[in-house]
């Protein structure tokens, strides 16, 4: 009973004291509230932003996939002699409707089925040849193919344009069947059919005659009803590449005709029998990125697992085959996501560390600032629990509403994403913020402190326990890093598993280790420095160094150092990642285009275009080249083909050599392609620039043949790459040399340029675009800048990059906050010191210097250490991190981490500038307020 009343009274009292205390220092309370609000907001918003971004990326990749890959689709055969009883039963509406219902039930959550987006039916298993001669045939030897389709509710999904709907009655024996069908107007028009026409389809034995009874037009052509199966609403032109080298692709039309559902038995007479199909559309908005693995499992289970068995039993139409498109789509998305995820996690961890250390710092500094007050509480008889409870009440009174506000705002403005990560993150942040001050105070005031303890005395050596803890942490960190390095490339990437958290934590861990070492070792260099400083005449350097080395204020040692180091490392490393991505994109774009811009034409370029291009704004250099694709290279001595499909380039050598040098793709000396002296005649072997793989295969001399030209060449220069060609097999010849060897080709269409490689740092893309009319021209223009921008246009890339930049910037912001906090904390002490020194005659100018010299060494150390840590993490992490996916460049141009001096140094410089600015402001304030009695309480 007493306990309960005790509690009640305690609470009442605490509240009163809390209010009184908070009112006494509203500034600090508000600042705490603001800090916690921002941090809780960040903690709650970031997971949801990442969720939202991943959802967007997934939905984009689903939406951009062909419709068939967005559907859960299954098929079952109905053929004579199949495993099932009677295929004639299967293709009739009762069996179909039953199976469709089973299919609809099988596609269940977590698969977000769109109930309206489902279609099923039956058609002939393979399109049947329409053997009438009247059909259009793009390739004369190929007949059009036809699918006879029966889908339910045809009348509801279409409008009858003319004629009537097909009847369900079949006439004639098998082999001479007659069936009625309707077509869409587009199909009828393209296939030159009219209502009342008939056409014949080749069957198992004999033919099936189809009579067109009418035309129907789709009510909503974009609907899954019309799109799930190919060529439903209009014929499609199909290509077929016959086997054999050098064959041209052949084309034929594929079209569909709709028959009545009762007439589906006719399908069984066709060559490959009938096929039942079901399509179920998914709600794109209902797909969540974090569910991808689950979705894949569900789909797999539906394809081969327990659900498949259940479905087949329920549908009773025999084995059901599922379309793999959706599973593959999800798998490829997961692969891409798991390539990007470690980087995002890295930035997130950096941000989390920076944020949590700033909160810890706030608590620790607040405990330090209120040490005297808390000592008084304690010596006046406050119990430890009472003290901690009162402080907790204080932080909670301010912090809880602020954290709630921040979290709620975050949840409101980030509509997508899960709560399950956002809320715990915000809760952890809030708990850290609320508990640091009470816990720290309780630890410090575990025993009441002797009030006369001198604060200006150096407190002995550090405790042995602390050394043990530090060494343990250091060993763990170093061990982790070594293990990570040994294991090499980060696991978890390939199989689409979750990102390796160790890999992502590496920069933070490294920063932690360096911070531990630095906190221990920093006095050494400072003390060494203070010796020469003491010998100099002025007191400022000596005083500053002595203070920095012997009694560093809490502003710089310990937690602030850790915060700065972590944030600096994360920011610098983030800068490296971003620089690596930018560099990779530039390189890939240059690789893809070969120059700043490239103009291609299948024919020779007219002189007018050439002149216009040369005159265009920003064009500094033009390399004219003739490109032949598919050249054959035959070794002269053995007669063995060294390469077919070699890209042969005939270039104006001077400009081309300049371009090669500028782009760094196989630079060569222009004179290497000049033929030898006294040469001439067709037998002269021309010097050629040859790709390395091709050079290996061809001997000294080889003959090159492209349409209209056959030349003997020898490999003069061997290079890995060349600007004009992307592939591995290329051969570059000098136009002048070709013209000299084959005078008949001079100025002919054969060697005149069909491609231009343009250089110029500020190309006027609009002016160049004007040269390329939209229509009626075969000219294609590729701009390096456009190519580069195209790498970042998918949500996966641009979103990840934006999030990454955001997280890194936020981490940098928190580190700046740490610096300001620590400086603010020690401001009264510094200002008092300056004021005292000024009474002793220290000029204002020197006072400013003193503040800088006293604090800057720590900041300089932290900055240097941060840069070095980031620098060290680059080679450490390079094998484990593949930026290619994040950069969005093709896999042939892999992007790796690159050390970028600017991005390494920039955060450190910003930090130093910020610290200097804050210190100078303090010195200015100190100059104004000179209250010597000021005691920091």
């Amino acid at each position: 009973m007493t306990r309960r009343t005790d509690l009640r009274r305690g609470r009442g009292l605490a509240a009163a004291w809390t209010w009184t205390r908070l009112r006494a220092a509203p500034g600090a309370a508000l600042a705490f509230a603001a800090l916690l609000m921002v941090t809780a907001f960040t903690a709650a918003a970031l997971p949801r932003l990442i969720d939202g971004y991943e959802n967007d990326a997934l939905r984009e990749s689903v939406a951009e996939a062909p419709l068939r890959d967005q559907l859960v689709s299954g098929t079952a055969e109905a053929v004579y002699g199949g495993p099932e009883t009677d295929p004639r039963e299967l293709v009739l509406p009762p069996a179909l409707d039953r199976s469709a219902e089973a299919f609809r039930r099988a596609v269940r959550p977590p698969l977000p089925a769109d109930r309206d987006g489902a279609v099923y039916g039956v058609h002939n298993r393979k399109p049947a040849a329409a053997i009438d001669p009247g059909f259009p045939r793009p390739s004369p030897q190929l007949t059009p193919r036809t699918s006879l389709v029966a889908q339910p509710d045809l009348a509801r999904h279409s409008r009858l344009v003319e004629g009537r709907m097909p009847g369900g009655r079949l006439t004639g024996p098998p082999g001479e069947r007659h069936v009625e069908a309707v077509l869409t107007p587009a199909t009828a028009h393209r296939m030159k059919l009219r209502t009342g026409d008939t056409f014949r389809l080749a069957g198992l034995s004999g033919e099936t005659t189809v009579k067109v009874t009418g035309l129907i037009s789709p009510r909503s052509p974009g609907d899954v009803y019309w799109k799930a199966e190919p060529s439903l609403d209009r014929p499609t032109l199909k290509s077929l590449k016959p086997p054999g080298p050098g064959s041209e692709p052949e084309h034929y039309w594929h079209f569909s005709a709709f028959i009545d559902r009762q007439a589906t038995a006719a399908l069984l007479d066709l060559k490959d029998g009938a096929e039942l199909f079901w399509h179920q559309q998914l709600r794109t908005g209902g797909i969540q990125a974090h569910q991808v693995a689950e979705l894949r499992d569900t789909l797999t289970s539906l394809t081969v697992g327990r659900d498949a068995t259940r479905l087949e039993q329920a549908a009773a139409v025999g084995p059901i085959t599922f379309n793999e498109g959706l599973v593959e789509l999800l798998a490829s998305f997961e692969r891409e996501r798991s390539a990007v995820a470690p980087l995002l996690l890295m930035a997130t961890l950096g941000l989390a560390t920076a944020a949590v250390t700033v909160l810890l710092l706030w608590g620790v500094l607040a405990a330090a600032r209120r040490e005297a007050e808390l000592a008084l509480w304690r010596s006046r008889g406050s119990s430890l629990r009472g003290l901690a409870g009162r402080l907790l009440a204080e932080t909670a009174a301010v912090g809880l509403p602020a954290a709630a506000l921040g979290t709620a705002t975050a949840l409101l403005i980030t509509p997508a994403g899960r709560w399950s990560q956002a809320l715990p993150a915000a809760a952890v942040v809030t708990a850290v913020a609320l508990f640091t001050l009470p816990v720290r105070a309780a630890l410090t005031h575990r025993r009441p402190q002797v009030p006369s303890q001198r604060s200006d005395m150096l407190r002995g050596r550090r405790s042995r326990r602390r050394t043990v803890v530090e060494v343990t942490v250091l060993t763990l960190v170093v061990g982790t890093l070594v293990a990570l390095r040994r294991r090499g490339t980060g696991g978890g990437g390939e199989d689409g598993g979750s990102p390796d958290p160790m890999l992502s934590a590496a920069p933070v861990l490294l920063a932690l280790a360096v911070a531990l070492v630095l906190v221990r070792l920093y006095p050494l260099p400072l003390r060494l420095l203070s010796r020469p400083a003491a010998r100099r005449r002025g007191p400022v350097a000596f005083l500053g160094m002595a203070r920095a080395a012997r009694a560093p204020s809490a502003a710089v040692a310990g937690l602030p150092l850790l915060t700065m180091l972590v944030a600096l490392t994360v920011a610098a490393f983030g800068g490296t990642v971003l620089a690596g991505i930018a560099d990779g994109r530039e390189a890939a774009a240059l690789r893809a285009v070969g120059a700043d811009a490239r103009l291609d034409s299948p024919e020779q370029l007219s002189g007018k275009v050439l002149a216009q291009v040369r005159k265009a704004d920003g064009v500094a250099d033009v390399s004219e080249i003739r490109v032949f694709h598919g050249g054959d290279v035959v070794d002269s001595s053995s007669g063995v083909t060294a390469g077919s499909g070699v890209t042969v380039v005939i270039a104006e050598p001077r400009a081309y050599a300049r371009l090669a040098e500028r782009t760094g793709f196989g630079a060569f000396a222009e004179r290497a392609l000049r033929p030898g002296k006294g040469a001439g005649g067709p037998d002269q072997a021309l010097p050629a620039l040859v790709s390395a793989p091709l050079a290996e295969k061809m001997a000294d001399r080889a003959s090159v043949s492209v349409p209209g030209l056959e030349l003997t060449v020898h490999a003069e220069v061997v290079r890995q790459s060349t600007p004009a060609v992307r592939g591995a097999d290329f051969l570059v010849l000098s136009r002048a040399a070709v013209e000299r060897t084959r005078p008949d080709t001079a100025d002919s269409a054969l060697v005149s340029p069909n491609s231009l490689l343009l250089s110029g740092s500020s190309l006027d893309s609009a002016a160049l675009r004007e040269l390329v009319p939209d229509k009626g021209s075969d000219l294609t223009l590729n701009l390096r800048t456009e190519q580069r921008d195209s790498y970042s246009d998918s949500v996966l890339q641009s979103g990840a990059e934006r999030l990454y930049v955001g997280a890194v910037l936020a981490a940098a912001g928190f580190s700046a906050l740490a610096v300001l906090l620590s400086l603010l904390q020690t401001a009264p002490e510094r200002i008092t010191l300056l004021a005292r020194l000024r009474t002793m005659g220290l000029p204002r100018r020197q006072g400013r210097w003193l503040l800088l010299i006293e604090s800057l060494p720590m900041y300089v150390l932290a900055a240097v250490a941060g840069v070095l840590t980031a620098l060290a993490s680059v080679p450490l992490l390079r094998p484990g991190i593949d930026l290619t996916t994040l950069a969005g460049t093709p896999a042939a141009d892999p992007v790796h981490l690159a050390t970028d001096p600017l991005s390494l140094a920039l955060p450190a410089l910003c930090l130093l500038i910020l610290a200097c600015a804050a210190l100078l402001v303090q010195a200015r304030i100190a100059g104004r307020t000179t209250d010597l009695r000021m005691e920091p309480l």
Binding site: T2, R9, A24, R380, G381, S382, P448, G460, L937
Partner: protein
């Protein structure tokens, strides 16, 4: 405390070796051969070197000594903030060596009160004078006779007002420390120390930051508390002049008590009152005597002295070489 019912081993040992009445049996504060050794940067500093001190209930005592003589160490030990290296100390029956955290907390809440030198360190700046006085009562929690909730609050505020009134500070009830002068702050601090009606109040240089006139006010407040409430008060100061303000002054030198000044009021035959103060040197339990330098230096007393026992006194002579 619990020593009465359940003697500790140390207590039993002490009883066994003791002959005659216990040392300081009737005293409120007993310090018996207190030793406190500090370890700072590997250097040992003996702050207290076997200090004996007895203070009776109701005394107003000052402990004076130069800085570094160990007086602050003694006060911290008595306040329960520090523990002696050797020896024993008890205040109002509480053995200061054998206290765990809980009894120590209770000791600070109920048995003793403190006043520190720095005026700003005694009071919470964001509370009014009355609230500051009420604070220790609230911290004590389960207060005796103070009641619960609002009733308890009212009782506490009433007691705070009473105490401040007693010390002549009733006009400062609702002012915050920032609005008080240094002397006023210290007088409020005295009220804070008296809040829980402690047996002893310790004051560490309570007038250290004050001018003479204000210091006089503070001492008068202390005397009032001593006489009106009967609280034993122990003041530590380096100011030798304080002996004119208190009834007993104990000097500490090099970690030991060296001399005492007693001051009492004598009424002569004509009814006139005069204050008489006499200075004594202390003799410890093993018979050691400290001679003040003003006595030893003129006679060049060093190393050894000659003692002669006379019927009513002891003669101390310098160790002069015997006449040839």
């Amino acid at each position: 405390m619990s020593t009465e019912t359940e003697p500790t081993l140390a207590e039993l040992e002490r009883r066994a070796t003791r002959s005659g009445p216990a040392y300081g049996q009737d005293a409120l504060i007993v310090c018996d051969r207190l030793v406190r050794v500090f370890q700072a940067d590997g250097v040992e500093v003996q702050a207290l070197q076997g200090l004996d001190l007895l203070i009776k209930e109701g005394e107003l005592t000052a402990i004076v000594g130069a800085s570094g003589s160990g007086k602050s160490t003694l006060l911290n030990i008595l306040a329960g903030l520090d523990t002696p290296t050797a020896g024993s100390a008890s205040v109002a029956g509480c053995d200061l060596l054998g206290m765990d955290a809980k009894t120590r907390l209770g000791y600070r809440r109920d048995t003793v009160g403190f006043i520190w030198q720095r005026t700003s360190r005694n009071l919470l700046p964001y509370l009014t004078a009355a609230q500051n006085v009420a604070l220790p009562m609230q911290l004590r929690g389960r207060s005796r006779g103070m009641g619960v909730g609002r009733r308890g609050n009212r009782a506490r505020m009433a007691r705070a007002a009473e105490l401040l009134d007693l010390l002549g500070m009733s006009h400062c009830l609702d002012r915050r420390p920032a609005g008080l002068s240094g002397g006023e702050q210290q007088r409020v601090a005295i009220a804070v120390a008296l809040a829980n009606d402690p047996a002893v109040v310790f004051a560490d240089e309570p007038t250290g930051e004050l001018d003479t006139a204000t210091a006089e006010q503070v001492f008068s407040a202390l005397r009032t508390a001593n006489s009106e409430l009967g609280t034993t008060i122990l003041v530590v100061t380096h100011d030798q002049a304080v002996s004119s303000e208190v009834s007993r002054t104990v000097s500490i030198r090099d970690g030991r008590t060296s001399s005492e000044t007693l001051r009492h009021v004598r009424t002569d035959e004509n009814g006139g009152e005069s204050t008489v103060s006499r200075e004594y040197t202390t003799i410890d339990r093993s018979g050691r005597l400290q001679l003040p330098p003003e006595f030893t230096e003129p006679l060049a007393i060093r190393d050894r002295v000659l003692l002669e026992l006379q019927p009513d006194h002891i003669e101390v002579r310098p160790d002069t070489p015997p006449p040839v």
